[in-house]
C-alpha cells in the first residue's frame, strides 16, 4: 500500500475524476431517464415509439461501443468533445435507458385508479404524471435505481480506455511502474470503488425507510 502513499496526488486526481464522472452522469441520466419513462407512457404513439427505440437501442448496446461512438465517430463527423465530456455523454445516454426502465416499473406499480382519479379531476397528462403518479412511482423505483447508479459508478472504468485518467487507468499506470506491487494496487483500487458504492447502498436503505408507504 506504500505505492498509494507515494502517489497520493495521482490517486486523488483519479478518485475525484471517477466521482465527478459518476455524479454528473448520474444526475443527467436521472433527469433524462425520467423524461424517457414519461414519454413511454404518453398518450401520443410516436413519442412512445421514440422512447422505446431509445431505451432498447442503448440498453442492448455494449457500453464500449457507445464510448467508441462519442470518442471516435462523432469527431470524424465534425463534433469533437473533450474526453471527459464525451465520457459523461456516453455514460448518461447508456445509464438513462436503465433509469427509464426502473422508473417505468415504478409507474406500472401505481394502481390505475390513481391516474383515473386524477384525470377525472381534470388534470392534464403532465400534471397527472408529475403530481400524482411519479411521486408514488419513485418510491417503488428506489431499490432498482440505486442498483443502476452503483452499476454506473463501476461503468466509469470504461472511460479509462478512452482518454480519461480515472481509477482504472490509474491501476494500469501504477502496475506498470510498481510491477512488484500489482496485487496491492488492484486491491487498493477495488477499495476505492467500494468507498463510493457502499454509501450509495446505505443511502438507498435510508431513502427507502424515509419514503415508505404508511400502510
Amino acid at each position: 500500500m506504500d505505492t498509494f502513499l507515494i502517489e497520493r496526488d495521482m490517486l486523488w486526481t483519479a478518485f475525484s475524476t471517477t466521482l465527478t464522472l459518476a455524479a454528473i452522469s448520474g444526475a443527467i441520466s436521472l433527469v433524462l431517464g425520467t423524461l424517457i419513462a414519461a414519454l413511454r407512457v404518453s398518450p401520443y404513439a410516436p413519442l412512445r415509439a421514440l422512447a422505446t427505440a431509445y431505451t432498447e437501442f442503448l440498453r442492448n448496446t455494449p457500453l464500449t461501443i457507445v464510448f467508441f461512438f462519442y470518442v471516435f465517430v462523432t469527431p470524424s463527423m465534425g463534433f469533437t468533445f473533450d474526453y471527459k465530456v464525451a465520457a459523461v455523454i456516453a455514460l448518461s445516454c447508456y445509464t438513462s435507458a436503465f433509469v427509464a426502465e426502473a422508473v417505468r416499473s415504478g409507474i406500472n406499480s401505481v394502481t390505475v385508479g390513481q391516474a383515473e382519479a386524477a384525470r377525472s379531476l381534470g388534470m392534464s397528462f403532465s400534471q397527472n404524471l408529475s403530481i400524482v403518479v411519479l411521486p408514488q412511482a419513485f418510491r417503488t423505483a428506489i431499490p432498482p435505481l440505486i442498483s443502476v447508479f452503483i452499476a454506473l459508478v463501476k461503468n466509469t472504468s470504461v472511460a479509462g480506455a478512452f482518454g480519461v485518467f480515472e481509477l482504472f487507468a490509474l491501476s494500469k499506470r501504477l502496475t506498470n511502474v510498481y510491477s512488484a506491487d500489482v496485487i496491492a494496487i488492484l486491491v487498493g483500487v477495488a477499495l476505492c470503488y467500494l468507498l463510493l458504492c457502499i454509501p450509495l447502498g446505505q443511502l438507498a436503505g435510508h431513502l427507502e425507510r424515509k419514503v415508505a408507504f404508511a400502510r
Binding site: F72, P75, T80, A161, F162, G163, K172, R173, N176
Partner: protein, 294 residues
C-alpha cells in the same frame, strides 16, 4: 487424410491447419529454418536441452497481436520475427517447426508463465531490464527496438522528441512508452487509450497530434496506411529496448546454449533472412545487436 467423411467435415478447421503444416513440412525446408540433426547425447545429461530434445517439442510464449513480430492469423498460428527466432531455437534442438507449441503471452503474464513452467521460453518483444532479471533470465538481445513517434503524413511541426511541448501525445495506458512521456515530457499532454489501434484512430481524427511507442509497432501501422501516416525522422528512436529470449532464472547452461544459437544465426545469415521475411518487409535490416552474456 484418410479419416471418415463425417469426422473430416466435423474437424475441417483442425485438418486445414494440419494440412498447412504438413504442406510446409513437405516443402523441403525452403520456408522453415533448417532443423539440426541432433543426438540427445550431444547435450549434457540432465540439461534442459537434453530434456527438450528428448521430448521432441518446445513450448514458446509469444505475442499474438503484434504485427511483424508475433501475430496470429485466422488459423491461430502466429507469424512474425519473434516466431522465426523461436523456430531457429527449436531447430537447434532438433525440433521441427510443426512440433512447436505456441502459447499466447501478453505483457503482464510473461514472468508468471516462465516461473510456473507453462512455457519453456518466451520470445515476445520482451525488453531486457533489471527489474525483470530479478525473476527471469534473458538470452540475447536478438533485436534492439526503441521508442519512436508517428504523425499524420502532412505534419511538419513535430520533428522529434524535443518538439512535443504542448502537443497531445497518445499511447497505451500502463505501457513503458507512456510512462516515458509522463517522466520526461511533463509539458506535453498524454492521452491514453486501451489499444494502439484506438490511438491511431484518434490520430487520424486529429484528436491527438502524435502516437508514440516502440518503432516496430508503429512501423506496422505505417505499413498498413502509408497514405496517411509516417514516422518522424524515418523512425528515429530515443530510447533503447533490447528484446531478449526469456527463460527460467538460474538455468545458465540453457542460456549459454540460446546465446550460442543466436550467435550462430547471426553468423550464418539465418537471422538476417528471418528478419527480411517478416519485419524486414517494412523496416531496414539492422546490424544484429551484440549478445549480452552477463
Amino acid at each position: 487424410m484418410s479419416k471418415p467423411l463425417n469426422r473430416r467435415l466435423f474437424l475441417t478447421g483442425t485438418l486445414g491447419s494440419a494440412a498447412a503444416v504438413a504442406l510446409a513440412a513437405c516443402g523441403g525446408g525452403e520456408e522453415e529454418p533448417t532443423v539440426a540433426e541432433v543426438d540427445t547425447a550431444d547435450f549434457p545429461e540432465g540439461s534442459t536441452m537434453a530434456a527438450l530434445a528428448e521430448a521432441g517439442t518446445l513450448t514458446i510464449g509469444t505475442k499474438f497481436d503484434q504485427p511483424l513480430f508475433g501475430q496470429a492469423g485466422p488459423d491461430g498460428n502466429p507469424v512474425g520475427f519473434d516466431v522465426e527466432i523461436g523456430k531457429i531455437i527449436a531447430g537447434a534442438l532438433g525440433i521441427a517447426a510443426g512440433d512447436i507449441k505456441w502459447s499466447e503471452t501478453v505483457s503482464a503474464n510473461r514472468e508468471p508463465f516462465i516461473e510456473n513452467g507453462q512455457v519453456d521460453i518466451v520470445v515476445a518483444t520482451y525488453t531486457i531490464n533489471d527489474t525483470r532479471k530479478e525473476v527471469v533470465d534473458f538470452a540475447g538481445p536478438y533485436y534492439e527496438a526503441g521508442q519512436a513517434l508517428m504523425v499524420l503524413i502532412d505534419n511538419e511541426d513535430i520533428t522529434g522528441e524535443d518538439s512535443l511541448a504542448g502537443k497531445k501525445v497518445a499511447s497505451v495506458e500502463g505501457s513503458t512508452p507512456a510512462q516515458y512521456i509522463l517522466d520526461n515530457h511533463p509539458d506535453s499532454e498524454l492521452v491514453s487509450f486501451d489499444t494502439y489501434s484506438n490511438c491511431v484512430t484518434a490520430l487520424i481524427n486529429g484528436q491527438v497530434d502524435v502516437v508514440t511507442t516502440d518503432n516496430v509497432i508503429l512501423a506496422g501501422f505505417v505499413a498498413a496506411d502509408e497514405e496517411n501516416l509516417k514516422l518522424v525522422n524515418d523512425g528515429e528512436t530515443f530510447t533503447t529496448e533490447p528484446y531478449g529470449v526469456g527463460l527460467a532464472k538460474g538455468d545458465d547452461d540453457f542460456r549459454t546454449f540460446l546465446n550460442d544459437t543466436l550467435q550462430a544465426a547471426y553468423d550464418d545469415g539465418t537471422w538476417a533472412k528471418a528478419w527480411e521475411d517478416t519485419a524486414g518487409v517494412v523496416l531496414p535490416t539492422p546490424e544484429p545487436p551484440a549478445i549480452d552474456r552477463y
